[in-house]
């Protein structure tokens, strides 16, 4: 299908590109997100490439999305599979192999087999006790724990990395849903006006006055314990959306009021288009500039809310790599291990700053005063 950018949109994008700190933030953040989607190849305790007995293995690839969903090896890659009968502690090595240790063992024994580990050779869940690393250890290059380890001996850098992926995906999902609900309700109120608007606006006002944080806390704490991890994350997302969509409605309602008075809407009505068609194919695209300017700020709100909720223990389930959990740990050891809270705060600061720069640039670029023309 062939499509061309609307010249106004093209101009807006050009303007966005010219606001350099916003544009670079966008590239950097977008790039990081893209990279994190393939994070299993960068930060993982699975080897990238293994050459053993004339065979090739790619465990990290098999561990990454979406390959994970479609392919599983037929037999487990245990220590025995790679020819090791006992592990370092003398236990039978019938469990999954530890590639970091395997690499050392092969090297020490001068075997022909070899393997390459990712940049950070740690997963978000594993510990390195058997390699002599203590819990809450300081950052060290020797074991490639670049930000040290946490209370369970897990690599903080790996947890921050996967925490970034989770919080970004969460924030994007949140933004998408908030926009979908908020703009639909707002547009409908604006388009129909009259009693629908009057009643709808009152309901929205009431709903908006329910304190968001408290409600999320209450709802999360009554989630039955049998609910699984993934469902809990989705439920948290859902609960947050339910109590956050209202702010969008006001703006969309106003824009729709403004737009529906214009001739193309009357023309569409004359041609017999129904209200839904008018709202979604004519009004929505024309009010999109309002939407877009709010986008980065909604993302920022989502990131800070979910981090705050995690910090207070009402957010993502325990065990999920999360910045809020990292902050809590850091606060606990603020005196003794300042690098923990330092790294968490730096990460949050950087991401939120970039999001804000993007937001400013978008607002500037999409400023209607510069582009709107009224006949």
């Amino acid at each position: 299908m062939h499509w061309k950018l609307n010249p106004i949109t093209a101009r807006k994008l050009k303007r966005f590109r010219s606001i350099r700190r916003g544009y670079w933030s966008f590239l950097l953040l977008g790039g990081s997100l893209l990279v994190s989607l393939f994070g299993e190849l960068l930060v993982n305790d699975q080897a990238l490439v293994v050459r053993h007995n004339g065979q090739w293995f790619f465990p990290a690839v098999a561990d990454s999305y979406p390959i994970k969903w479609i392919y599983t090896p037929k037999e487990p890659r245990t220590g025995e599979f790679f020819g090791e009968a006992r592990d370092k502690t003398g236990q039978s090595y019938s469990g999954l192999v530890n590639y970091r240790l395997l690499k050392k063992t092969w090297k020490a024994a001068g075997r022909e087999s070899w393997l390459i580990m990712p940049l950070i050779p740690h997963g978000p869940d594993g510990n390195t006790f058997s390699e002599g690393v203590k819990k809450l250890s300081a950052p060290s290059g020797e074991h490639k724990h670049f930000l040290g380890t946490d209370g369970a001996g897990r690599d903080i850098a790996a947890r921050m990395f996967y925490g970034f992926r989770i919080v970004m995906l969460f924030a994007l999902g949140f933004t998408l849903m908030v926009f979908l609900i908020g703009s639909t309700v707002g547009c409908l109120m604006g388009y129909f006006g009259g009693k629908v608007d009057l009643l709808g606006l009152r309901l929205v006002e009431i709903w908006a006055n329910i304190p968001f944080l408290y409600m999320v806390m209450i709802m999360v704490s009554v989630v039955p314990s049998k609910v699984g991890m993934t469902t809990r994350v989705l439920l948290l997302l859902f609960i947050m959306v339910v109590f956050s969509w209202t702010s969008m409605t006001y703006y969309m309602r106003a824009s729709t009021y403004k737009e529906k008075a214009r001739d193309y809407v009357a023309a569409a009505q004359l041609l017999g288009a129904g209200p839904l068609r008018i709202v979604f194919t004519h009004l929505l695209p024309n009010t999109v500039s309002t939407l877009v300017t709010f986008l980065p700020f909604t993302v920022a709100v989502a990131i800070s809310s979910v981090t705050a909720l995690d910090f207070l223990n009402f957010g993502l389930p325990e065990g999920t790599p999360s910045w809020g959990h990292q902050l809590r740990l850091g606060q606990e050891y603020i005196r003794e291990k300042p690098w923990i809270i330092g790294s968490a705060l730096t990460a949050i600061f950087l991401v939120l700053t970039m999001v804000t720069f993007i937001g400013e640039a978008v607002r500037e670029a999409f400023d209607p005063k510069k582009f709107s023309t009224y006949e």
Partner: protein
């Protein structure tokens, strides 16, 4: 440690409480001989007890003449062997100094000053009841014997169920009223009242366990327990409830006495003017306390005041302690001992704050995993034994607990000779776990390293817990268990939600700790008898061959969280409960521990045969620091405050003067294995 070891309780806390509940009153107690022990003497002739209770209370007594009885001095058996604890050693230090204020804290403002009823079992209660109230006869914290308290002498009757007590004529409440034998009648009236809204006490003190209380004269009474037991003295040692204070209990009890401090026979009282709402409560020493000079109470309860400040945030508690505004802080948690107040921190190096590790000998709280034997796969003994071998507690201890803890061996450690001498917990071993799982049909590993059986079912279980602070422990166990081919899913809940799940018996594996009261021998009925596992009993529960029937219903709200139900075990537990002789109890107990070890429903985690505390150098201690059976440093009040040392330290803090650092371990009571 109070805030640190937050063991879940309901029934168990109430058990420890019991040991602090009971005294009697005798109207118009005449002054008698006030001997401080010594050889048993002939009972002095005293007046027969006249009840002066109000109508309601009197009719309560009259409704149960079998239980409440009044006799005469002549009815006391003459062949009783009276004891007065004079052969026991004094455990307080003669160096102790009276005076000063102990500054301590509690995590939340107490919701009531009542000792019983809703909200009464909060953490503040220990100050006013558990380590303050006196009972008839106290267990000696260094031996298996007893020492006199409100009763100055006692004797066990020929039936070994009845204990005779003679009250100390000096015994007084904090309001100056004498303690009367009738206050022990009133104790049962009080504890059985529906208006106190305490069903556990209602149940505990009903006719099932307590068979009779008889008043012989204004100073002598006897209480009869339902069966003969070697420790019957402590079973029936109750606290007096001051009848003159309550007169009767009605439906307004909770409201009327919410903030009313019950006059106590103990050393500290709460006066109305010392309740600073929401901020602090100060306990003051009862003026001219009656037991001040008694042999076993002397040189204890030394500070004039105990100021309990409410500090809600644990991090703030610790900061206040480091500033010297609180006199002590528990250091039992490894993070505190090793990370937050390490030996080289400045307050320790300068000798301002002392660090002490004290080995005690008390029944070990059962921190461990309770495997729900009613769940599929977990009903298989091989799977349970495999799980034991799949848990790497040694690594957890080494890496998470800095090697501080010891491994708990059985469900009944710390009972001296009653604990099993040879049964040892199963160690972490991938091979042994695999052998056990293979017996249950789990032989092949999947691509994820988890074992599967012939029909492809994965060996995967969920561990539920309400202890967020042990998330790291479970995380490490989970990784290690995967080596043995088991997947453990972690379900970390809020404290109450975690225990609710276990109490409803909906867990697969529950992780947590239950406190054990300091007792002579362990209990098996509550945690391991089928009565507490299923609603069905007898033939409705068991098939003819002893296996469990299908369609049976787990019983909620009991301590049998492993859902252990085994006909032979039931028989053995019955024998154990009926045994009257300590040797017999020991023999049967060992047999039970062995069987339960084989059964493998309970997976022991760690034991901590010590406590650790950090305190400012003005808190002083006996030469051997504390008593053997102390759970915590302040339980027996053997410490004292040295105001001179406090001034000296505060001046030193300003001038930079230092003292030799004190980091000590007292291991005289450490068990040698």
């Amino acid at each position: 440690m109070k805030t640190q070891i937050n063991l879940f309780t309901t029934a168990f806390v109430a058990m420890t409480l019991l040991a602090g509940c009971g005294k009697k009153k005798a109207p118009g107690d005449p002054k008698g001989d006030s001997s401080n022990g010594g050889a048993p003497v002939k009972v002095t002739k005293l007046a027969k007890v006249e009840l002066d209770s109000v109508e309601e209370v009197r009719s309560f007594y009259e409704a149960d003449p079998e239980f409440f009885r009044i006799k005469t001095t002549a009815d006391i058996p003459t062949d009783l062997k009276w004891e007065d604890g004079s052969s026991e050693k004094v455990f307080a230090s003669p160096k102790a100094k009276r005076g000063g204020t102990l500054n301590t804290f509690t995590g939340d403002w107490p919701r009531t000053l009542r000792f019983v009823g809703p909200d009464a079992s909060g953490s503040f209660r220990q100050y006013i009841l558990d380590s303050n109230a006196l009972i008839l006869v106290e267990s000696h914290p260094q031996s298996d014997g007893y020492y006199p308290s409100i009763a100055k002498r006692w004797a066990v009757g020929a039936d070994k169920k009845t204990v005779y007590f003679e009250l100390d004529p000096d015994a007084r409440y904090s309001d100056g009223e004498p303690i009367r034998v009738t206050d022990f009648f009133f104790h049962f009236y009080f504890m059985r009242s529906k208006h106190i809204k305490a069903p556990w006490y209602n149940d505990y003190y009903d006719n099932k366990k307590f068979k009779n209380i008889t008043l012989y004269d204004t100073r002598t009474l006897s209480i009869t327990y339902y069966k003969a037991k070697p420790d019957v003295v402590e079973k029936v040692s109750i606290r007096p409830v001051p009848e003159h204070h309550y007169e009767e209990i009605d439906e307004d009890f909770l409201k009327d006495y919410q903030w009313e401090f019950e006059p106590t026979a103990g050393p500290y009282e709460v006066l109305e003017e010392n309740v600073n709402d929401g901020v602090a409560i100060t306990l003051t020493r009862v003026p001219n306390w009656w037991a001040d000079k008694k042999r076993f109470q002397k040189n204890r309860y030394n500070p004039d005041k105990i100021r309990v400040t409410v500090v809600r945030e644990p991090a703030k508690v610790f900061e206040l302690f480091r500033k010297g505004e609180l006199d002590w802080h528990g250091l039992s948690l490894p993070e505190y001992w090793h990370e937050k107040l390490p030996n080289d921190s400045s307050e320790v190096m300068k000798g301002y704050i002392h660090k002490v590790k004290f080995y005690n000998e008390i029944p070990v709280p059962t921190w461990g995993m309770r495997i729900n034997c009613s769940m599929p796969l977990l009903d298989n003994q091989n799977i349970r034994q495999g799980l034991h071998h799949a848990m790497n507690w040694a690594l957890v201890n080494k890496e998470i607990f800095y090697g501080d803890f010891e491994r708990q061996q059985t469900m009944a450690d710390g009972y001296g000779k009653r604990s099993h001498p040879t049964v040892r917990v199963r160690e972490f071993s991938v091979e042994k776990a695999e052998v056990a799982f293979a017996k249950a049909g789990f032989i092949r590993r999947g691509a994820d390293g988890i074992l599967r059986n012939a029909v492809g079912k994965r060996l995967s279980f969920t561990i539920s817990t309400g202890y967020k602070r042990f998330t790291d422990v479970l995380t490490v166990l989970k990784q290690q268990a995967a080596k043995a081919g088991v997947e453990l899913n972690l379900e970390i809940l809020e404290l109450t939600a975690g225990w609710k799940k276990t109490n409803e018996k909906k867990h697969e594996i529950s992780f947590g700790g239950l406190n054990n009261s300091v007792e002579l021998y362990p209990r098996f009925f509550e945690p391991y008898h089928s009565y507490n596992a299923y609603k069905e009993e007898g033939d409705k529960l068991y098939n003819a061959d002893g296996s469990l029937r299908s369609g049976i219903t787990p019983k909620p709200d009991t301590n049998n969280a492993t859902l252990t139900a085994d006909r032979d075990l039931d028989k053995l537990i019955k024998q154990y409960r009926e045994a009257e002789d300590l040797d017999e109890i020991t023999r049967l107990g060992h047999a039970l521990i062995q069987r339960l070890h084989d059964h493998a429903g309970y997976l022991p985690a760690w034991s901590k045969p010590w406590y650790r505390v950090g305190y400012w150098r003005w808190v002083k201690w006996p030469d051997d620091f504390n008593v053997k059976q102390s759970r915590d440093w302040d339980e027996f009040h053997v410490h004292w405050i040295d105001p001179a040392a406090k001034e000296e330290t505060q001046a030193a803090k300003k001038s930079g003067k230092t003292f030799p650092p004190v980091i000590k371990t007292y291991d005289q009571y450490k068990l040698k294995r």
